[in-house]
């Protein structure tokens, strides 16, 4: 099925059509949830954050500035919700103490799962502003400009946070045995 353009769906939402809002949820639920999940790691918390974010989208849809891309606006809401959550809970996110062995099993699926787990844990040890730009760039493929719209800083700042984040993450992954020194 061909997806309808966001503009068309938004128009219908603003006319009070809840079915249209359901379409938006269906379209963006997964990316919103995954953004929150990478930020806070806990699936239940990520689900709560996603729900709150969509509720804010519903409440504020009339105020959405159409000069910006709709998905950038959505990302901004879910990122802010995640930041508020982390701030409110002052979360020290627990993760497994076990550092994986440097000799990884040859099975590709196992390797992928293990790499994912190690990367997710290491991300949580990065400063939150670096974590956000890495998540948006690498997991959601946003451009520098789009990231700059979401986090509301200059493109230059985005680039410098990306660089610092990558350096930091590489160091953390080396400590966890994913890379050789």
């Amino acid at each position: 099925m061909v997806e309808r353009p966001d503009e068309e769906i938004i128009e219908e939402c603003l006319r009070g059509n809840l079915g249209a809002f359901e379409e938006l949820v269906q379209k963006y639920e997964k990316v919103m949830y995954n953004t929150a999940l990478r930020m806070v790691r806990d699936p239940e918390d990520a689900a709560d954050i996603t729900q709150n974010a969509f509720l804010k989208v519903f409440e504020r849809l009339g105020r959405y500035d159409r000069q910006h891309k709709f998905f950038s606006w959505l990302y901004r809401i879910v990122v802010n919700e995640s930041l508020n959550f982390l701030k409110a809970r002052k979360v020290t996110i627990p993760h497994d103490e076990t550092i994986p062995s440097t000799t990884l099993q040859p099975d590709a699926k196992f390797h992928q799962t293990e790499t994912t787990q190690v990367v997710e844990e290491a991300l949580l040890d990065l400063p939150v502003e670096q974590r956000i730009v890495l998540i948006l760039r690498h997991f959601h493929n946003l451009s520098y400009r789009e990231i700059s719209n979401v986090v509301e800083v200059s493109e230059k700042k985005v680039k410098s946070r990306l660089f610092a984040g990558r350096q930091g993450l590489r160091k953390l992954l080396t400590q966890r045995g994913l890379f050789q020194i």
């Binding site: 009070g16 949820v25 997964k30 990316v31 689900a47 105020r63 790499t115 660089f163 990558r166 590489r170």
Partner: protein, 260 residues
Amino acid sequence: MIDDRHRELINASIDGQLSEQEREYLGQYLAANPEAKVLHDQLTELSRALSVVSHTDPPPQLRESILRTVRIKHGEQERRSPIFRWTATFGTRNRFAFAYVFSAGIILGVALSAVIWNLERETRFDDRDLTGTLATPPTRNGYIHVERKDFAEGIVQGSLEIRRAGNSILADLVVNSAEEVEVITQYNENEMRLTGFRHVQEGISDIAVSEGRVQFKNKGDNQYLLFLNDREPVGGMLHLRIYSATGLLVEYRTNVISGK
């Protein structure tokens, strides 16, 4: 030493943002600069590792939970004002067209508020900041059952029942423990406010009520009633934890509206 310009080029190369000319230049630079080559290779390796991480499917009930909350919100907005749908389009039309309507609305609003405020002042007691035994004692009458969670872990057993009446929420908590346990209930102060806390039996100690949190120690079989009001019309999360001397025994989170 890698200068800022080349560092930026290396990063742009990782992100696939280089022009043909820049790529060619960077290739030559890396060939002549081993330190930069190492950095480039390391970042490429990192980028590959990150590309392995795939998206996770959200929990199957999440979409329905979102839509249920939105439906409640939508229903409230519809009831609140017939002009809601009209005002929802503000910001998408020429704002000056609304200037006269706004001005008239503000004048009318101020006049009505003054009248209503005077009436309310004579007839209503404001107990919003009172909690605990000082508050006007709330009662359980008129609350409708929303959900119930039973728990039995180690030395503790009991239940948490959520009931609701309009924008008021009643968390009815029963805790039965042979030894002393610490009970913590938390909620988001931005979503809900505590209007009353009562314990039906005696035998609890160290009650602490602070921002977004009610905490006490329980021994024996006791019942506690937490009365909360929505700040937002859709309620929020309530988080219950019970600790024994050895650690966390019970943890339960619920969205008091969706019953999730």
